[in-house]
């Protein structure tokens, strides 16, 4: 069973033009602990990401109050947490989060809920959910404690070759297409900001190939409307020192062919 409740505190987005992002209640809130007094849940690992998304929206609307290319954030809750649903809703309001809708479903139906709500990016702390959603062509991100220390001021997206990430989940044509169109949407958003002080920042990292595969990746991204701000070509150098400096909120891998392989 799938149901949706609108958040009356927040202006609804134009779903035809917005970039719909779903976050699970487990990722957004620490439902094991309570904030003092008012019974609202404490912030979870997804908080900085959500705040960064909100900041992008703020800045987009500042430039154009009629802007429709915005992030539309929905909160997804499955069965096992249904009894806490009203607490999730009140916690959302308590933290002033720009969540437009609350989507409730059973665990079996959550994929249906993702597809029904036209989710273009799914944020969760559950690896199984990521696998399932990815298989159905919904770009998904596994959040963890690293996400909690990312910036809440600037959304940092990392584009990286897909050769290394979880080889068990081979990209289906549908998921590749979905990720590409999501990237293009982000690219369009980025164009609305200048070089400095952009609330949205794109970084390209090529891990193994040399400058020519980085060159290919830059061109491939450009062809789908994404101009990156920063680029790092590691050519086999250890990745964690560099990644720990970059602190991306999430990675997008677009199947850049590694020319040297």
């Amino acid at each position: 069973m799938v149901s949706t409740v609108q958040n009356s505190d927040v202006r609804q987005k134009d779903v035809d033009h917005a970039v719909v992002v779903a976050v699970t209640s487990r990722a957004l809130f620490e439902s094991d602990t309570e904030e003092d007094g008012d019974g609202a849940y404490a912030a979870g690992v997804a908080f900085p990401l959500l705040q960064a998304l909100q900041r992008v929206n703020e800045q987009l609307l500042q430039r154009n109050p009629a802007e429709s290319l915005l992030f539309d954030v929905v909160l997804m809750t499955t069965d096992s947490q249904q009894q806490q649903s009203s607490r999730f809703m009140s916690s959302t309001r308590h933290h002033g989060l720009e969540v437009t809708r609350f989507c409730f479903s059973s665990e079996e139906d959550f994929i249906e809920s993702l597809l029904k709500n036209n989710i273009q990016l799914f944020l969760t702390t559950d690896e199984n959910e990521v696998l399932q959603a990815t298989q159905k062509g919904v770009p998904s991100v596994l959040l963890d404690e690293h996400s909690a220390v990312c910036s809440s001021e600037q959304l940092r997206v990392l584009f990286c070759e897909n050769a290394i990430i979880r080889p068990s989940s081979d990209p289906t044509p549908a998921s590749r297409q979905a990720a590409q169109s999501f990237s293009s949407q982000l690219g369009k958003m980025r164009q609305k900001f200048g070089m400095f002080d952009s609330p949205l920042c794109f970084t390209l990292v090529t891990l193994r190939g040399g400058k020519d595969s980085c060159c290919g990746a830059l061109k491939a991204l450009r062809s789908i409307g994404v101009s990156v701000d920063e680029a790092y070509c590691l050519a086999g150098a250890p990745r964690s020192p560099i990644l720990s400096l970059l602190r991306p909120h999430f990675l997008l891998s677009d199947g850049f062919s590694n020319l040297d392989d």
């Binding site: 990016l121 990815t134 062509g137 770009p139 998904s140 991100v141 596994l142 963890d144 404690e145 690293h146 996400s147 990392l158 990286c160 897909n162 290394i164 990430i165 979880r166 989940s169 990209p171 289906t172 998921s175 590749r176 990720a179 070089m195 400095f196 193994r208 040399g210 400058k211 020519d212 980085c214 060159c215 830059l218 061109k219 101009s227 990156v228 701000d229 920063e230 680029a231 790092y232 070509c233 590691l234 050519a235 086999g236 150098a237 250890p238 990745r239 964690s240 560099i242 990644l243 400096l245 970059l246 602190r247 991306p248 909120h249 999430f250 990675l251 997008l252 891998s253 677009d254 392989d261």
Partner: protein, 368 residues
Amino acid sequence: MSLSSSQTLTISGQDLVKNGSRAPREDARAGLKPSTPTKKPQPPKPENAITIAVSSRVLFNMEKEQQIFEQQGMEEYIKYQVAHEAEPFRPGPAFSFVKALEAVNTQLRELYPESEELFDVVLITNNHAYVGLRLINTINHHQLFIERFCMTGGNSPIGYLKAYHTNLYLSADPVKVHEALGEGIAAATMFTPEKMTEVSETQLRVAFDGDAVLFSDESEQIFKAHGLDKFFEHEKAHENKPLDHGPLKGFLEVLGKLQKKFYAKGQRMDCPIRTYLVTARSAASSGARALKTLRSWGLEIDEALFLAGAPKGPMLEKIRPHIFFDDQMFHVEGAAEMGTVACHVPYGIAQRIPRKGVKDKETSQTVK
């Protein structure tokens, strides 16, 4: 299609550790053809290599673009760069130095094919990735072997310098150089001479000033505070006490390490690396302490030139180093005037009490 948070990427970093810098497949390919001159060698692992980080403005001539940036702002600068993407930049002051490093690498690879003790040139620039394609096109055009780069889009390069275990950082921006020195990274601000004298394509020549470059500025402090006579007295009295080390001692050390590899293969007389000390100290007196200090560090320098205060320009013009390091702008300018690529090491007392040059040049404001 997979997306992940940075954590997943870090976990799966294990496979990079397995592969190392030479993927197994490439080893197999190399095994089949014992000498493949057209096959590109893999860059060495940063912890094994001698990493030289250069900024885009010292590697290439970007004067025109820099002017556009200063006069018309960032957006126009980016527009210009993208419009000229297919047009390679001309070589900058660090170009011949980088070419010489590559020449040394070629010779090292011949003598020690398995070793990763090689120079690794990394481009670390503040530029936005929008300029990336033009930079890559230029690297390809000039056939430079630079496979690693960081285009930080305005963020500080310091973290990346550390991540690459940088042995020497060259930039046109004195602010970044200063920051790097503060973090213990050997760094110098490189200037473009009006004309650049021809330098060797087969032998790397590196010239160093002594005080406040290889050595600490302790003696220079005495000179500034108490004058020349006191300086001589002090140096004579402490002749056998090694000076403390300066910011570029480490770089001389790695050069010496590579030199020994050539000596081990019988290439002492025609070593592809040659080092010079070009100091205002005098051979008769204060020079002894400098040489004894080097000896106490176990370091050799091929030629020590004691100028006893004479200008360095003419001597450097004879030596033709690919690069010269000095802590005093007076000497840097003097060297540049005579066609030497000279770099300023903004370290020590000379920065607080500078000696006025003939031309009181202001270092230009830069963002890159």
